[in-house]
């Protein structure tokens, strides 16, 4: 199984938020070593709990608590000049595809860390970009890490991940970039 080989997984903010919504974040911590970048940590400060009355309740996510206990590790964001360079390169190659700089910082880690890290995201645009950049195999779906979870949207599934990475790879081939 894919998750058995995993050691270090950088998780995206949407994954942290989704798992807190579903009450499954602890399960993820048991499966692998979890990392977040500073920006992702900043983004995943809270989630909204739907109380059914149209007024969602803001529930704070205590990532600092996990960090203090050493159950979650924080990676410093890469230097801004590196982010700027990567971002400009991406914009040139994929002008019709947009990801935010926070996600860019995770992709830089993937690119520079050899095979040390994997990235878990529920964002189709990020999967596509990773496929295009040639490190789609370093992405892992939440479904692959935790198995089938009720209430998990399609974008967190293995099927979606494969499709988006495939789409990115095909685009790369079509452009002759590979």
């Amino acid at each position: 199984m894919r998750s058995e080989a995993l050691k270090k997984v950088i998780v995206d903010a949407n994954v942290i938020i989704k798992l807190h919504e579903l009450g499954k974040f602890e399960s993820l911590l048991k499966v692998c070593e979890i990392y977040v970048t500073e920006t992702i940590k900043d983004e995943a400060r809270f989630y909204l709990q739907d109380l059914g009355n149209g007024v969602p309740r803001k529930v704070m996510i205590d990532l600092d608590g996990y960090i203090r206990k050493g159950r979650l590790k924080v990676l410093s964001d890469p230097p801004m000049d590196k982010i700027a360079e990567f971002s400009a390169r991406l914009e040139k190659k994929l002008p019709d595809q947009g990801i935010q700089l926070g996600e860019t910082s995770s992709l830089i880690y993937l690119m520079e860390s050899g095979s040390n890290y994997c990235f878990c995201t529920g964002d189709r645009a990020v999967m596509f970009v990773a496929g295009y950049m040639g490190f789609g195999d370093r992405l892992v779906s939440l479904e692959a890490l935790l198995g089938v979870i009720t209430g998990l949207e399609y974008s967190y599934t293995e099927d979606c991940l494969k499709k988006e990475i495939g789409r990115g790879s095909i685009r790369k081939i079509q452009e002759g970039a590979g």
Partner: protein, 379 residues
């Protein structure tokens, strides 16, 4: 040459440039270091001071907070080029706080930038406005007033605004890619003239009829922004009024209304007719007064309006205006919201970018869009 030193220098140079950009944007927004540090959540302003001087590296999350506090997106700072903002023409100004205005300008600028980007992704080019043909018309007119009146007629015809243009105005503007902002706190109106995308910033709390008139005024400023000097109000006010009156109250429709109702002008029916045009009664009355052949009846019309003023407005009329406000006057223009949502659903932009486009957090963006734009988005 030592490679490390070379890299260090390049790095320092980058920090200097980014610090300089932050300083320029802060000054453009009229904020002190202390105020920006506070808005961006820094514990003290010395950190910001060091970042601006290039003495301390700015981190991505810090830059995100600075950008958000300035009403910009973080990617703006990475291009390391001084940005050139679009031309803002403010009118009906009630806002005295220039800092607030600058931050609002930043947000509008940013939405325009994002919109261009999103339209590029979607392959849409319909927002290209070519007013040059209309502007060329001017040279064949000796009378400016006649020119602007004809300009209004021409636009009405070309844009198929119909017999009662106020009713279609928003849809037509939307279809032509003119973004409409309905800002609640910015108690002022503006038109924004950009190379590619144009926008109207409207004060949302105004009466619907005033909003319509201000929309038409803003449209005039966009169209004639390069012809007239809008900083000199007196010169253009009369022309603006003529344009608005003709655009919203087509003479042909008005004449038809009057010839039908003229025998009963003292009746409430005339007032009801006037409501169809969706303009304030003063403008409607003035338009009648300017029609030579009806001039002699103007006193009677005035009497008719005064008689029915403050009486109950037809409920269907009010309802339609409420709907108009609900669908069109939003803080973020509907075309922008629709495009951004489409791009996210199609996997063209990430959720984090979607959130950044609305200055929201990733956790709240979907709730925000659902709550405010759920009626036009496919949730």
């Amino acid at each position: 040459m030592n490679m490390d030193n070379k890299n260090d220098r390049a790095f320092d140079n980058f920090n200097l440039k980014i610090g300089e950009m932050i300083r320029k944007e802060r000054e453009r927004a009229g904020l002190s270091q202390k105020k920006l540090a506070e808005l961006a959540g820094f514990k003290n302003y010395q950190t910001l001071w060091a970042i601006e001087k290039g003495r301390r590296e700015v981190k991505l999350n810090e830059l995100s907070r600075i950008a958000r506090a300035l009403g910009l997106n973080v990617s703006n700072f990475l291009k390391l080029e001084e940005r050139t903002g679009p031309k803002f023409l403010w009118f009906s100004g009630r806002e005295k706080d220039t800092t607030k205005l600058r931050r609002l300008e930043n947000r509008v600028f940013q939405v325009l930038q994002n919109f261009k980007y999103l339209a590029g992704i979607a392959g849409i080019s319909w927002f290209n406005q070519d007013f040059s043909a209309l502007q060329r018309m001017r040279s064949s007119y000796g009378d400016e007033n006649l020119f602007v009146t004809d300009l209004a007629r021409k636009i009405r015809d070309e844009w198929n605004l119909g017999r009662y243009p106020a009713r279609n105005l928003y849809d037509v503007l939307e279809a032509r890619g003119i973004l409409i902002f309905g800002i609640q706190d910015a108690v002022t109106n503006a038109s924004v003239i950009d190379d590619i995308t144009n926008a109207l910033v409207l004060y949302k709390k105004e009466a619907p009829t005033d909003v319509i008139v201000n929309t038409a005024k803003a449209l005039f400023r966009i169209i004639a922004g390069d012809i007239y000097d809008f900083t000199n109000r007196k010169d253009v006010e009369k022309l603006e009024k003529s344009f608005v009156a003709e655009l919203l109250i087509p003479e042909e429709t008005l004449r038809e209304t009057l010839s039908r109702e003229v025998q009963h002008y003292f009746k409430k029916e005339l007032y009801t007719e006037s409501l169809k045009f969706g303009v304030p009664e003063s403008l409607f009355y003035e338009k009648i007064r300017n029609l030579k052949d009806f001039k002699h009846l103007a006193g009677g019309f005035e009497h008719a309006f005064n008689t029915v003023r403050d009486s109950n407005l037809p409920s269907a009329y009010l309802k339609s205006w409420e709907n108009l406000k609900r669908f069109h006057l939003r803080e973020f223009p509907l075309q922008y919201v629709k495009l951004a949502w489409w791009a996210y659903k199609e996997g063209k932009i990430s959720k984090m970018l979607l959130a950044e486009f609305f200055w929201k957090n990733i956790a709240e963006i979907e709730y925000f869009l659902k709550e405010h734009y759920g009626d036009v988005l496919d949730f």
